[in-house]
């Protein structure tokens, strides 16, 4: 079974600074997808960034980027120029790729609570 581990229950960063959230995972699959989701208080979970395991290039979305190390099974999220609106719970998630019909759910880590200090 796949597992996702986020070792930082809480992180704090000054506004405009850079912060990195850690995530490691365990799987025996070679093809899979990794995601970072953001869940603001009392609001819906939204996708931040997505990485395909077969792509070596790290995904980037504006101020958000990942450091994907497949051999180490590590998938960290870097947030540059942190803004007050970035304050939220961040979840790392894994989903295996499918070779046939069907679908698969996400395996989540426990989350990292990100605090932005003004």
């Amino acid at each position: 079974a796949q597992t996702v581990t986020q070792s930082q229950p809480e992180m704090s960063v000054q506004e405009a600074e850079t912060v990195t959230l850690s995530c490691t995972y365990d799987t025996s699959e070679s093809d899979y997808y990794l995601f970072w989701y953001k869940q603001p208080p009392s609001r819906q979970m939204i996708l931040v960034i997505r990485q395909e395991a077969y792509k070596q290039q790290n995904a980037t979305e504006n101020r958000f980027s990942v450091n994907f190390q497949k051999a180490a099974k590590s998938f960290s999220l870097k947030i540059s120029d942190s803004q007050l609106g970035d304050a939220a719970m961040y979840f790392c998630a894994y989903r295996r790729a499918y070779s046939g019909g069907g679908a698969d759910g996400l395996t989540f880590g426990k989350g990292t609570h990100l605090i932005i200090q003004p």
Binding site: F35, M45, I46, E52, Y98, G102, G105, G109
Partner: protein, 114 residues
């Protein structure tokens, strides 16, 4: 805007009294998921529908059932809620293909058990 809507946002029920949570979507996605998220824990997949095909996770209690009468709606039924079932329940949808399409989540329903 196309979206995933969960009703109600907050649900209170009594111990052992059946309760139904609902989810609707305007995204026309063929896959719908239900997750349970307890306080300070990771969301945990309960089951999902791929079109009309129901897929139950092995460790989902029998107390939890689901119905999907059409593409747009999906329901989570808890037949006899226990105190341990108090949680946030998240509905999500995705368009399945091989390219790892992300899941789109609703706001969740927070279930309390008296």
């Amino acid at each position: 805007d196309a979206m995933v809507i969960q009703n109600p946002r907050y649900q209170v029920t009594q111990f052992g009294k059946p309760v139904t949570l609902s989810c609707s979507q305007t995204l026309n996605h063929n896959v719908m998921y239900w997750y349970q998220q307890k306080s300070s824990q990771a969301p945990k997949l309960l089951f999902h529908y791929y079109d009309k095909d129901f897929n139950n996770e092995a460790d989902t209690p029998d107390n939890f059932q689901s119905r999907r009468p059409n593409t747009s709606f999906c329901f989570l039924d808890i037949r006899s809620p226990g105190l341990g079932d108090a949680a946030m329940y998240l509905c999500a949808t995705s368009r399945w293909d091989r390219d790892g399409q992300p899941q789109h989540f609703g706001d969740g329903t927070r279930l309390s058990i008296l």
